[in-house]
């Protein structure tokens, strides 16, 4: 684990830091506003995922530039980089990767602590809400920009009473490089 940990810490030290409480309160305000605007919990979940997707497609370039990771040869490496370097650099926490399936196309990312949910308690009216759904969108968007189509879902959520945060990351397929210009023009 040591070689993978050090790039994460180095990347974390290299980026500018923001006050954690400001970040948490801002995210909380976003979720509250979405709930007021859309009123339906499922809609809010979709919106958070869409917002995350938009962040992810832009974030991937910044991440690759600042973290100096080499090209990943297989999905296992990708998951490790996301968990050790990505989460560390952007949220300051490390995730663990586990529960690989037989083809190495699905795994779980487990977070013990999550700065987005400090101080948060879900009221009874919002029990179906995936509060951190934005993270799923970010990962999905970022991986799509490096030619991998994935599906990311929450499996365990501490706000709903589980003991950790667990995301299920599934790779659907590789997107072939598409050139914008037709060959015969």
């Amino acid at each position: 684990m040591a070689p993978a940990m050090r790039p994460g810490d180095a990347a974390f030290a290299a980026v500018e830091h923001v006050n954690a409480e400001l970040f948490t309160l801002t995210y909380g305000a976003i979720v509250r506003q979405l709930l007021t605007d859309f009123e339906e919990v499922e809609q809010v979940n979709k919106q958070l995922d869409a917002m995350g997707y938009n962040i992810g497609i832009r974030l991937i370039d910044d991440f690759l530039a600042k973290s100096n990771v080499t090209r990943c040869s297989e999905f296992r490496e990708t998951a490790d980089v996301i968990a050790k370097v990505g989460f560390k650099m952007l949220l300051g926490v490390t995730a663990t990767v586990s529960n690989w399936n037989n083809d190495s196309t699905e795994c779980s990312l487990i977070l013990e602590e999550n700065p987005l949910v400090d101080f948060v308690e879900l009221p009874e009216t919002c029990q179906g809400l995936h509060y951190c759904n934005i993270l799923c969108g970010v990962i999905r968007g970022a991986l799509e920009m490096v030619s991998m189509r994935t599906e990311v879902k929450w499996v365990r959520d501490m706000l709903r009473g589980d003991d950790a945060y667990e995301m299920r990351l599934k790779m659907l397929d590789q997107i072939p490089e598409a050139y914008p210009y037709k060959d015969d023009e």
């Binding site: 909380g28 979720v31 509250r32 101080f119 948060v120 308690e121 879900l122």
Partner: protein, 169 residues
């Protein structure tokens, strides 16, 4: 030693039976939070009996004392910005202490009638203030409405249980 052990017992039985003045069991009877417009935000009693109405009444009476203390600062200039207001008024069996935050949120502590160290009280209030700030930072909490978070209630119970058990020098 006795005071510390008594604190660990659940609020009801020990407090009711030892009554006032007995062998040094420090009993917090009730804590309350009142908002800027004197609207109640939280009230929790720690005696076994269902005396919520009596405590609402005591807390309501103490609100006037808050305004009085704020508008007539004592001679020492340091008291102007002090959050801890000290003993507000003694009733038949209880002492009522107040703490005013900069945002005009009032914390009220009702205890049984013994001598309590000021350092314990200040300590209690600052922990209580911390718990309140965390509960208020919940994006689903509406400022001005009652605090319904069960995590906050747990924290308050823990703070109350550890009241008075600061290590003696």
């Amino acid at each position: 030693m006795f005071a510390i052990i008594d604190n660990l017992l659940p609020g009801g039985a020990a407090g009711a039976s030892s009554g006032g003045g007995g062998g040094g069991s420090i009993m917090i009877v009730c804590v309350a939070i009142v908002g800027q417009q004197n609207n109640p935000l939280y009230l929790q009693s720690f005696t076994g009996a269902d005396e919520a109405l009596k405590f609402h009444y005591i807390v309501h009476c103490s609100l006037d004392v808050f305004d009085e203390k704020v508008s007539n600062p004592k001679k020492a200039g340091a008291n102007l910005n002090d959050t801890f207001l000290g003993l507000l008024y003694p009733t038949e069996d209880y002492k009522v202490f107040g703490y005013l935050t900069n945002t005009k949120i009032k914390f009220i502590l009702v205890t049984s009638d013994q001598d309590l160290r000021e350092i314990d009280l200040r300590n209690f209030f600052s922990q209580f203030h911390g718990a309140y700030v965390d509960a208020a930072s919940n994006p689903f909490h509406v400022p001005g409405k009652r605090i319904i978070s069960p995590a906050f209630a747990d924290r308050v119970s823990t703070i109350v249980k550890s009241f008075g058990s600061t290590p003696q020098p």
